[in-house]
Structure formats: structure tokens, C-alpha cells
């Protein structure tokens, strides 16, 4: 067994950095605090790579399968003998892969932020929050048990909240952060209920026990049926609800586009590369249970993923805020991943979807982070989020332009970039499982290529826009991460995921299925072509098209009125029809009852004052009748 105990420092170091920057940050110089945060991350990035190397290439395989290694574990909170929350580090292919993703992207974002956030008020706060986020995210992926995952799940939520609301004086940022937190919190409730159900049935939180295909946990619980589905299915659906929330799948996707109010590097890190894929990671982590105990739940995963990807892609085509387009694109891509998981089986080639999903996750992290950082560089240059304000930027921002183009090609699935490979395998997996979903995904692939190149052309080509100040290429702190990530996106397709990250830990053979690959590339090219026609030069085609599909365009432009629906639910139903009545009830009925008791006492006291009339004879009368009545009572009535 190789010694991996040091891995505990991977999450801990950012946490310490967070404490340092959070408590003492305002006393440090800005630059120093930025460098401290970045330095901390550099260390753990190196540690992660070492860990990955050790795990994939030196760790002992049993039966050709990678083992799950618990590198560190302490009991944090004991509920019962069997149920306890541990905090620890679990290493297995997906968590190690996630380590790489998170540290890489996070490190890049840190470097990028040094330039991007320069001179912002609250610089040290920003880095403190970033460290907190890194800590939480790493804790999440390294979780040894589902409750630890839930803990960090909440923590990433709050880091996301803090970072979205970083510009706390901007009302839109404040409300966006609030929305993000509450929507995900609601989803997390589902997650919690899922955990409760799961633990009630299996009496354990531990991932290794839970996901052992031959273990007792999977065998248990599937027998009990509630409303036609087994309890295990229910619990997995609830758990998935948490995933929907964090990964911004329909119908909980609404927070993600608003979350773009945060600083752009944050969007790159949290809302594109890492946190939002936590849902995918969660399903992957629990995958054996899904396949063996709750296939219905897995189907739900597939359909939710497919629907969200299509839905988001359509909306993405109509948006003009580049960050929002990217946000919808993220939703769409995560839908892809979930779909891949949903159609996957377990073990060997059956688990192609699983592998594809992880592959896509990896690739997506690279290129989506790149896209966001690129967008950040653009926004940095033109001080606007709207592509209507941009055009012809390729001259001013060459590096950004090139890297952005690479990213767009990657996401469009053009070989030999990484997106091509991962998407191809997802499509292949879908084909083997469900033709309908497969068809949907083809459509989404086309749409993706279209909207990505729509923004690409609008920004870098399109009309010649006059700028108040000539846009400048970003400083090296910002461009270097772009380049690194561009290389990552381009080359990560070469990583043999089928050997490293598979559903059962064993390598299997997979190759490009040309029957799937060629059409998908063609569809991608078609999308690019349409975008070229429409947006390469300033044309009126988009307006005409929009006019032709007036209503559908309007619906899509308004995000199918989902935000309005949510507003209706919160403002009208929760505030107006639950909370206010509750408050009213409390003031008037509950409190009123108490006051009424007091009032009645007082008024009775007033009413009976006539008894004390001051008239001696009335007193005597009462006295006498009292005596007589008592006598009658006790002699004749109640003896």
C-alpha cells in the first residue's frame, strides 16, 4: 500500500489559507494576500498531481481494478453505532480525477484573478472565499461518506453564495446570490431526505460499503415499495434532487444564469468547471447503487439530463449576455454528462457512458473554464457583458481570440480536440441504450456549435464597433492561464480514460465509433456554418429569423418564463399566501387569544363590580343567599 496520508493536506491547506486571509486578511497587503492564496493552491496542485501519479501508476490493482483507498478517516460525529459522520479522504479514480480538475482550474483561476481583480476593494476577501471554495470542493470530492459529501455540498453552496454576492453593494448581485443559495438549498433538502432514507435502509453512510456491488447495502432496501417504486429508488431520486440543484438542471437551473453576477473568474471556477459538476460527480459516486438498486432513478437522471441539455441549448441561442450564454451552455453540457451516466451500465464496455461522462466532465472543465476566463478578458477589455456592444475584437485581443477559438472548437466537438472524443463516447453510449435520447443529443450538439460560434463571431468578427477606449489585451497573469487551459482543452482528449476512470475500476477497450462520430462532427460543422452565415458579418438574418419564430423566440429569450414562475411561487405563494397569513394568524388569532383572555378577565372584573355595591344590605343579601344556597347544595343536591 502506498502512503497517501498526506492527501489530507490537500483540502486542509486552503482551509488554513481561508482562516488566515479571513481573519487577518485586512491587515495584509493586497498583493501579499493574493499571492498567499495562489501559493497555497500551487502547493496543493503539485500535491494533487503527485497523488494522481501515485494512484494511477503506482498503486496496487486487484483483479486489474483500481481500488478505493481510504487515505485518511476520522469519526467526526457519532450518531449511532453504525451511523456516523466521518471526515476523511477517499481516493478512487473519479476523486483523483476531480482533484486534478479542481486544483488545475482553481490554480489557473487564482493566477488569473491576481490580474483580473487587481485594485478591487475586498481583494483579500475574494481570495479568502476562493480558498474556502477550494477547500469545500476538495472536501466534497474526497468524501468518504455521503454525509461528508453533504457537509461540503453545503459549504460549496455557501462559498458560491459569498462569491456571487462578492459585489455586495450591487443589488442584482445580492439577489442573485440569495437566489442561488435558496434554490440549491431547496434541492439540498431533497438530498438530505435522500440521505435519511438511504441511511434508514442501509444503516450506513460509508461510500465503500454503499457502493460495493456485492455488499449488503445494495442488496437491502430495494424490497420495500412505496408508491410503486422501491424505497431505494425513492432515496436515490431524492439524492439526485440535490444533484439537480447543484448542477443547475431543469427545473432548478434558474440560479445559474443569475450567478453570473459574480466576478467572472468565479464563474469560471465554480459555475462552470467544478461546483456545478458536483451533481454529476454525486451520481458517479453512487453509481453502483443507481444501477443495481434504483435503475428507475437512473432513468430519471438520463431524462433530466437530456431535457436540460436541449432546453438550455435553445435558450443559449437567444441570449445576448455572453456570460449567460456560457451559463446556459454549461447547463447543457452538464445535461450531457448526466445523460451519459443515465444510459450507462456497470462494468466493462457496459460502463461506457460512465467513462464518457467523466471524460466529458474533465474536458468540459478545461474548455468551459477557458471560455469563461476568455469572456472575462473580453469583459475586462470592453466593460460590457453584452455581445451587442462587441465586435471585431480579434485585432485587439489576439491571445484571447485564439484561445477562445480553441475552446469553441472543442465544445463544438471538432476533432482532434478533447470535446470531440468525450462527446463521441457519450453519443455512442446513448445510441446503445436509448435512441430518443441519442437523437436529442445530436440536436444539442448542433445547437451547441451554433450558439458558441454565434458568440465567437459576434465578438471577434461581426460589426466594427467603436469603443470609448481602445480595448487592450489582458496582462500576462490573465493570458497565461488562458494558454494553459487552451492546451489542456486541446490535449486532454488524449488521456486514456477508458483505462483510468471506469465504472468498476477496470480498463476496457473502446474506440471511436465512426458511425456516430462522423455525423456528429458534421452536425457540429453545420452549426458553425450557420453561425458563420448569420454572424460573420453584420446581417439581418438573426432578426428575420427571430421575427419568423416570434413566439418561440420570445419564449426562449425569456428563458421560457422560468424566472417569472419562480417569482410567482416565492412572492405570491410563499410570501403572500403562506407567510403573511401565518404572521397574521399569529398576531391576531394566537396572540389575540391570549389578549382576549386578558380582556375577558378585565371585563368580567368590571361587570361583577356591582356585587361590591357599597350597600350593606346587598352584602347581607349575598351573604344570606350564599348560605342558603350552600345549604341547599350540600343537603339536597350534592350529598
Amino acid at each position: 500500500m502506498i502512503n497517501l496520508g498526506y492527501t489530507i493536506w490537500i483540502p486542509l491547506l486552503p482551509f488554513l489559507m481561508f482562516l488566515l486571509l479571513g481573519l487577518a486578511g485586512h491587515k495584509l497587503k493586497h498583493k501579499l494576500s493574493g499571492l498567499l492564496g495562489t501559493g497555497g493552491l500551487a502547493i496543493i496542485t503539485v500535491l494533487s498531481y503527485i497523488t494522481a501519479y501515485k494512484y494511477f501508476f503506482t498503486s496496487e490493482k486487484i483483479d486489474g481494478a483500481y481500488q478505493k483507498i481510504t487515505a485518511f478517516n476520522i469519526t467526526w460525529l457519532q450518531f449511532t453505532d453504525k451511523l456516523h459522520i466521518d471526515l476523511g479522504v477517499l481516493l478512487d479514480p473519479i476523486s483523483v480525477m476531480m482533484l486534478i480538475v479542481i486544483t488545475t482550474v482553481s490554480f489557473m483561476v487564482h493566477i488569473y484573478s491576481l490580474g483580473y481583480m487587481k485594485g478591487e476593494k475586498g481583494f483579500e476577501r475574494y481570495f479568502a472565499f476562493l480558498s474556502l471554495f477550494s477547500f469545500s470542493m476538495l472536501g466534497l470530492v474526497l468524501a468518504t461518506n455521503i454525509f461528508q459529501m453533504y457537509i461540503f455540498w453545503e459549504l460549496v453552496g455557501v462559498s458560491s453564495y459569498l462569491l456571487i454576492g462578492f459585489y455586495y453593494q450591487k443589488p442584482s448581485a445580492v439577489s442573485a446570490s440569495k437566489k442561488a443559495f435558496i434554490v440549491t438549498r431547496f434541492a439540498d433538502l431533497g438530498f438530505l431526505i435522500g440521505i435519511l432514507l438511504l441511511s434508514f435502509n442501509t444503516k450506513t453512510f460509508d461510500f465503500i460499503t454503499l457502493t460495493d456491488p456485492t455488499g449488503t447495502a445494495i442488496a437491502q432496501g430495494s424490497g420495500i415499495v412505496f408508491m410503486g417504486l422501491s424505497v431505494m429508488t425513492w432515496s436515490m431520486i431524492f439524492v439526485f434532487m440535490g444533484g439537480i440543484g447543484k448542477s443547475a438542471m431543469f427545473p432548478f437551473h434558474i440560479w445559474l444564469p443569475d450567478a453570473m453576477e459574480g466576478p467572472t473568474p468565479v464563474s469560471a471556477l465554480i459555475h462552470a468547471a467544478t461546483m456545478v459538476v458536483a451533481g454529476v460527480y454525486l451520481i458517479a459516486r453512487m453509481f453502483p447503487i443507481y444501477t443495481f438498486s434504483a435503475p428507475v432513478a437512473l432513468e430519471v437522471v438520463a431524462y433530466v439530463g437530456a431535457f436540460s441539455s436541449l432546453f438550455a441549448a435553445i435558450i443559449a441561442c437567444t441570449q445576448t449576455d455572453i456570460k449567460r450564454v456560457l451559463a446556459y451552455s454549461t447547463i447543457s453540457q452538464i445535461g450531457y454528462m448526466l445523460l451519459a451516466l443515465g444510459v450507462s451500465g456497470y462494468g466493462g464496455y457496459e460502463g461506457l457512458g460512465y467513462m464518457a461522462s467523466m471524460f466529458h466532465l474533465f474536458a468540459h472543465a478545461m474548455f468551459k473554464a477557458l471560455l469563461f476566463l476568455g469572456a472575462g478578458a473580453i469583459i475586462h477589455a470592453v466593460h460590457s457583458n453584452y455581445m451587442t456592444d462587441m465586435g471585431g475584437l480579434r485585432k485587439y485581443l489576439p491571445v484571447t481570440h485564439m484561445t477562445f477559438l480553441i475552446a469553441c472548437l472543442t465544445i463544438a466537438g471538432i476533432p482532434p480536440l478533447s470535446g470531440f472524443f468525450s462527446k463521441d463516447e457519450i453519443l455512442a453510449a446513448a445510441l446503445h441504450s436509448n435512441k430518443l435520447l441519442f437523437a436529442v443529443e445530436y440536436a444539442v450538439a448542433g445547437l451547441t456549435a451554433f450558439y458558441m460560434f454565434r458568440i465567437y463571431f459576434s465578438i471577434f468578427w461581426g460589426k466594427e464597433t467603436q469603443y470609448h477606449e481602445t480595448p487592450h489585451e489582458a496582462p500576462p497573469t490573465m493570458t497565461i492561464p488562458l494558454i494553459v487551459l487552451a492546451i489542456g482543452s486541446a490535449l486532454s482528449g488524449l488521456i486514456p480514460f477508458n483505462e483510468l476512470v471506469t465504472s468498476d475500476g477496470k480498463a476496457f477497450e473502446s474506440e471511436i465509433e465512426l458511425l456516430v462520430a462522423i455525423p456528429s462532427v458534421l452536425i457540429g460543422l453545420l452549426g458553425i456554418g450557420i453561425a458563420y452565415v448569420m454572424y460573420r458579418k453584420e446581417t439581418t438574418i438573426p432578426e428575420k429569423l427571430a421575427a419568423t419564430f416570434k413566439y418561440s423566440y420570445k419564449w426562449a429569450y425569456n428563458k421560457f418564463y422560468m424566472d417569472e414562475l419562480y417569482l410567482f411561487v416565492t412572492k405570491k405563494i410563499i410570501f403572500k399566501h403562506i407567510s403573511e397569513p401565518v404572521a397574521w394568524f399569529d398576531r391576531h388569532i394566537v396572540d389575540g387569544t391570549m389578549n382576549a383572555i386578558a380582556y375577558v378577565t378585565q371585563s368580567v372584573s368590571f361587570r361583577i363590580r356591582g356585587l361590591q355595591s357599597g350597600q350593606l344590605q346587598k352584602y347581607a343579601y349575598v351573604f344570606f343567599t350564599g348560605a342558603i344556597l350552600l345549604a341547599i347544595l350540600f343537603i339536597y343536591l350534592w350529598k
Binding site: Q612, G614, Q615, L616, Q617, A620, F624
Partner: protein, 105 residues
């Protein structure tokens, strides 16, 4: 002396007198007449005591002595009550009980 008169006769007589006194106490407006009603009440009690004593327990004198003491106490009580009534008259210039109601509620 009391042959042929059942004890109940005395008791009924006393009861009537007693409740007449009560009635007087409740209705008379003059403080002194109220005091007189009290005397009626006490008198009726005396009749009771004596009747019981004579008819049922003639070997002892409890009832008689009780009556005796009641009379004495009644005298003392009447004396004090009358002095207060006179004081009332000085203060209120009336001894109408209904006017003596400065304190109420």
C-alpha cells in the same frame, strides 16, 4: 308546663322569627331598625337553645347558658353598634343605610 306542645312548634316558631329578622335586616333602611332585626335573630336562636335544652337534654344547662351569654353579648354588641350609629349620624346626618355607601366597587 309544655305538655302537648311538640318541640317542633318551638323550632318552627324560632325559624319564623329568625327569618323574619333576616328579612328585616335585608329590607329596613334605618340602621337602628337593622339593629333591631339583629335582636330578633338572636332572640330566635335563644328560643331554639332553650327548647332543645328543655325538651331533649334537660339534665344539663348548656342551652340555657348559651342563651344567657348570647343576651350578654347582644347587649355589648348593641352598645357598640349604637355608638357607631350615632357617629354615622354625625358624619352623614342620616342613618339611612342606603346612604352609607361612600365606598364601593
Amino acid at each position: 308546663m309544655n305538655a302537648g306542645i311538640p318541640i317542633q312548634y318551638f323550632l318552627i316558631l324560632a325559624a319564623i322569627m329568625f327569618f323574619t329578622g333576616i328579612y328585616g335586616f335585608l329590607t329596613r333602611r334605618n340602621l337602628i331598625t337593622i339593629l333591631m332585626s339583629v335582636e330578633l335573630i338572636l332572640n330566635s336562636v335563644n328560643i331554639n337553645f332553650l327548647a332543645f335544652n328543655r325538651y331533649l337534654y334537660p339534665h344539663k344547662l348548656d342551652g340555657m347558658f348559651f342563651s344567657l351569654f348570647i343576651i350578654a353579648v347582644a347587649a355589648a354588641e348593641a352598645a357598640v353598634a349604637i355608638s357607631i350609629i350615632i357617629n354615622i349620624y354625625r358624619r352623614f346626618t342620616t342613618i339611612n343605610v342606603e346612604d352609607v355607601d361612600e365606598m364601593k366597587y
